[in-house]
Assembly symmetry: C2
Homo-oligomer: 162 residues x 2
Amino acid sequence: MARLSTDEAAALVERFRRQLRERRLPVTRQRLAIAEGLCRAEDHPSVEELSRRLRAKGERVGMATVYRTLDALVAAGLAREHDFGDGFKRYEPLSREVAGHEHLRCVRCGRVIEFVNDRLERALRLTADEHGFVYHHHRIEIHGLCRQCRGTDLGGLAARVP
Amino acid sequence: MARLSTDEAAALVERFRRQLRERRLPVTRQRLAIAEGLCRAEDHPSVEELSRRLRAKGERVGMATVYRTLDALVAAGLAREHDFGDGFKRYEPLSREVAGHEHLRCVRCGRVIEFVNDRLERALRLTADEHGFVYHHHRIEIHGLCRQCRGTDLGGLAARVP
DNA sequence: TTACGTGCAAAGGCTTTGCAGTCGG
DNA sequence: CCGACTGCAAAGCCTTTGCACGTAA
């Protein structure tokens, strides 16, 4: 969930550090910087964006390392990967304390906000079961025009054939 | 919806043809072939796959044209675009007669099956509204292991840190 | 010291674009 | 005939990979 408390963020980084140590893998400055950068995020940054923020803080980290570390965080269950159809992936920290949540995205400005609806989630698990599937995960996104953008939009999204 | 009846498929192609004529745009052999190829599909083909099927039928159509025509079909509201996270987009014909539907995808073999749940859809519209969004569209996907694949899987998807 | 990580640049995979030739209306 | 389309190849974007060097343990 974006916007972790300071404690949650610290705990998440600590878990990452522990996982690395347990596996006898080097805990590098870069890995910690990336994990911390992600945990501090209040939104769902892309690799590019996260990289930019680290650079702004004076951290020198190559893009490839950001990609590799985010993959590791996702594999470790400490981060979540999203593709909202912007043409690139976005990431968010995944705290144990915080329940699963879904996303509402503005088609105009790209703003993403979160919401929780347990009933929805239960319904999806049930549906998977009804069709003989073993549930793994799901994806729910609502795309629309946010409050700030609705005034601006004048129907420019009408269907058109090139 | 994949698996359109012959009538629905013909109607969809006819609507495409009409839209083109109305806009004084050329109705080309390629465009019709692509529209028909998509309407005949029983699944959710990628550009690559659709292209391959056309070629198999003896239709010579360049990839760029397939991309451009699918964009046109989507913009015209006659097709739907999906990104199930395979690294490429997939398309399906969108018939007026058929209700909206969601997708259930096998994480192992990629098979996609469809289901309808009006209650879910209403809940999403309501949620958008509650957050001050003007609803545009949504996305619901369930990822799991299908009946055929569940026997094969032995937990090889466990989290791991590289 | 040694195995793994890092950074850079090159390579990949899908999609878009530029342009000369072609064709529908 | 004219404007739009097509096909090819080149370019674009995001992401992954190869490799020499650096560094945590």
